[in-house]
Amino acid sequence: MQVDQNDPGNPPVSAGPIVRRRDTPQITVHSWMRDGTMQSAWPGQDKELPYDATEIKVRLIAFPCGSVREIWLDKGARTHPHGSYETVLFYQISGRRVQMVNEDSQQINPGDASFQPHGVEHSTHQLIGGLFVEFAMPAPKSDDPQGSWIFAKDAPLIEMIEELQGADVPRAFGASDVPGTAQRHTQRVYAFPG
């Protein structure tokens, strides 16, 4: 994957399998809308902030296949409609917001997820301050991109029961057939188009 390192939204790509939060500085970005285009000011950029600029606190992590972004918005913060050059999966950790995608909007609560393909217009209005995470990955632009949502309440938790067989082969057993050594965990799967 080619990452544009001149884009302030792309930090150096991590060489290792882990990037720790404590090693990743939180930066403050401001954004505002002028003449129909979203403007941004990154730390160190010499831009005069207008009164209506929105403050966004972010941690940016880049891996060879894409990026992870931790984004904090205070109550009342808004971002203006904009399209991303990546396809993005959002997951709400805390707080509450209204997410707009194209002409549609939904209230997003903790545990909810949404999908925004490259080029889809989206924006947000934070109702209760909080944190969400984005997984961003490059993707070809669709001629007719559509966003979508999956709400936690509509995506059931599935119990996974796995037992090692031989070296590395996991198996799932029926509830009446579970050895005591089986590993148990639960999963909620969010399946999006593509």
């Binding site: 941690r59 060879p64 993707a139 796995e162 909620r188 799967v189």
Partner: protein, 75 residues
């Protein structure tokens, strides 16, 4: 994208995915075994699991982990 909840002391089975994955620890702490190397991660840490590499995630404390599989067409 998958949200996995692990109780302390439990683990996922070793699994190699056909796709690259990015993961994020929403809460708790985990140990990830990848290529025979173990790394620990806690709330807010991010992980990268390359395609084809067996990976196991064990919870050191009750944990919630998100992971996203990156479509091959996207890379």
């Amino acid at each position: 994208m998958t949200e996995t909840r692990l109780a302390a002391g439990t683990a996922t089975s070793p699994r190699a995915d056909k796709l690259d994955r990015m993961a994020y620890v929403v809460s708790g702490s985990i140990s990830m075994l990848l290529d025979g190397q173990s790394v620990s991660a806690e709330t807010g840490d991010s992980l990268y699991i390359p395609a084809g590499r067996p990976c196991t995630i064990a919870a050191l404390h009750d944990a919630l982990v998100l992971d996203a599989r990156v479509p091959r067409a996207a890379v």
